[in-house]
Symmetry: C2
Subunit: 344 residues, 2 copies
């Protein structure tokens, strides 16, 4: 990795003290309360236009910025929505969902921060989130239990929302039903006349909460049919795919659900390099409906996944914040449909 | 998009009041100062083991979590490192860099939050960051000017670090020299005997701060040679690539630097569908060295980009926080080397 050496250099002047609302009050010749009313746009108190202007000018001259933490201490709650950064590799689909959500919450005047939880686990992570006193917490993936919800609520969070495959006691749940993704893929392959079906299970850590429900979905789809299911562990690396492809004829499979489009691209390349014909000898289907699947030859069949809109989720958060005593809501929010192209 | 309807439900009991350190002090039968000393592990004050135990037990029983904001108000500064979320689409390379950085800062006892800046611009964004009173701010991309640095420092940030192509007055700069990426690619194509060189310029908003320096790098590499350079605007969409490929013979190019591996994959597919042979008729090179380039046929040549290690950057942030009066440091941190495969 590129090294950053320490460069010694001449010292610049010591930093100025941070201006406070008391400094603004002094310069404007008003009380601190007046400064607070003006800068927070409080409508319940009448303040003359010239006074308002004097406060704004003094704040500008001093470079005064209100302190969100101090303000939330006074107000009793913040407008901070905390999202722990997910502990799984984030794909383009999820990235777009997150930025749409941030945009929608921003429109509702919330401040969204993504908390880097790398290296923090369980209770320790939850306490670190709670220390920031968020008004709402959105937790992707598994990892939060009912106790964690208690800690967050006990620290003033008015809404806790989980995005995952299981609801958690006390929290609103957006259920991401990844079994439906596998079910779609399994039914499609069965409908295409395939009976010896492989399912890729990524070896990468952090993907289990997606891959195991997808696997179960395929199993459920094939339940009661004559089709067989074979689990295919695969790392996202060329040599892992080459080894799997080299043993392909022995596995005697006529179809594979490759977990997602990226693993499908990896495996399809290895199969083609091995001389296995897609889809004649083996049908391949991915998931996520990424651009790259349309660029492969044969064009990759896939499961298109629909996430909830950021706007809908932002509205749920806002409702929950306004009414923290309301019973937790549970919504199934993941839509899955097959897009049939040339590989299956 | 999946709709989240409002589900009415029975109300659960109103939330309990948030426990404070005063509650802990009362239950443990000690002063608030003692609670603070114990829970912050203050070493300058001697407190007996039984008292410590009583405080910890009381805190646990009440579910008390310290308030990071209150603590930072008392301490005069926080341990919060704020990173505005970048305003460009984030690739796998950058994602890995961010999580490595978060991990390294976490090890140094900082709390890292990524601030969702969607919809906020310029001064407004800077003021929103400043309201959280971060001890350090890491700003990716362009968009922060010297005035913004002043606002942040005036609000107590001890270190402001930019990651981009230009240094900003008053801030430490990690210069990401994307000209070097283009220069590498241009020299490589010229060395391979190509003289009519196209450069893909993505139409997508937010990529200019990468694409324009890369374009300039190619131009510089070809300066003083007989080679020509043609700009090729391209949207990341199949129809845009198909249109470009359909007009390819008229363009009369024998090489193309495709901005990155994903645009290279898109363009190479369109060229091959059009019957243009790669690399015989046109050499193609991407950038980023993603897995997908190795899976294409012909295997994609690329520019491997080395980002600074998260650990080095975390140490720079920590040094800057400890010595806020030190002169801003500037480091060139982006390494670029060609990986020659079969497409060029």
């Amino acid at each position: 990795m590129v090294q950053i050496p320490k460069t010694p250099g001449p010292s610049s002047p010591a930093p100025r003290p941070v201006p406070t609302s008391a400094d603004v009050a002094r310069l404007a010749g008003v009380s601190r309360a007046t400064v607070s009313y003006v800068l927070n746009n409080t409508t319940s108190v009448r303040i003359s236009e010239p006074t308002r202007r004097r406060v704004h000018e003094a704040a500008k001259e001093l470079g005064y910025v209100p302190h969100a933490a101090a303000r939330s201490l006074r107000a009793g709650h913040s407008r901070l929505v905390l999202m722990p950064a997910p502990d799984f590799p984030v794909g383009p689909l999820y990235s777009r969902f997150i930025s749409e959500l941030q945009w929608a919450l921003g429109r509702l005047d919330y401040t969204v921060v993504q908390f880097g939880s790398v290296g923090l686990h369980g209770d320790e992570a939850v306490r670190a989130w709670a220390e920031l006193r968020p008004v709402a917490v959105l937790v992707p993936g598994a990892g939060l239990g009912p106790q964690g919800v208690e800690v967050l609520k006990g620290s003033g969070a008015r809404a806790v929302v989980t995005l995952g495959s299981e609801p958690v006691d006390g929290a609103h749940a957006l259920l991401m039903d990844h079994e439906a993704v596998g079910h779609c893929a399994g039914s499609h392959l069965h409908d295409r006349g395939r009976r010896r079906i492989g399912v890729v299970v990524p070896r990468e850590h952090g993907l289990e909460s997606f891959s195991l429900p997808r696997l179960k979905g395929v199993r459920d789809a094939l339940h009661g049919t004559t089709a067989t299911l074979t689990e295919l562990p695969l790392a996202y690396a060329e040599d892992s795919a080459a080894r799997l492809a080299a043993s392909w004829r022995d596995l005697d499979l006529d179809a594979v659900f490759a977990y997602n489009d990226e693993y499908a691209m990896l495996l399809m390349r290895a199969l083609q390099d091995e001389g296995v014909r897609v889809p004649e000898e083996v049908a391949v289907i991915g998931a996520d409906d990424l651009m790259l699947g349309r660029l492969l030859r044969p064009r990759l069949s896939t499961v298109h996944i629909e996430l909830p809109s950021g706007r809908d989720l932002a509205e749920l958060v806002d409702r929950a914040v306004r009414d923290p005593a309301a019973a937790p809501e549970t919504h199934k929010v993941l839509g899955a449909t097959v897009i049939h192209r040339d590989s299956s």
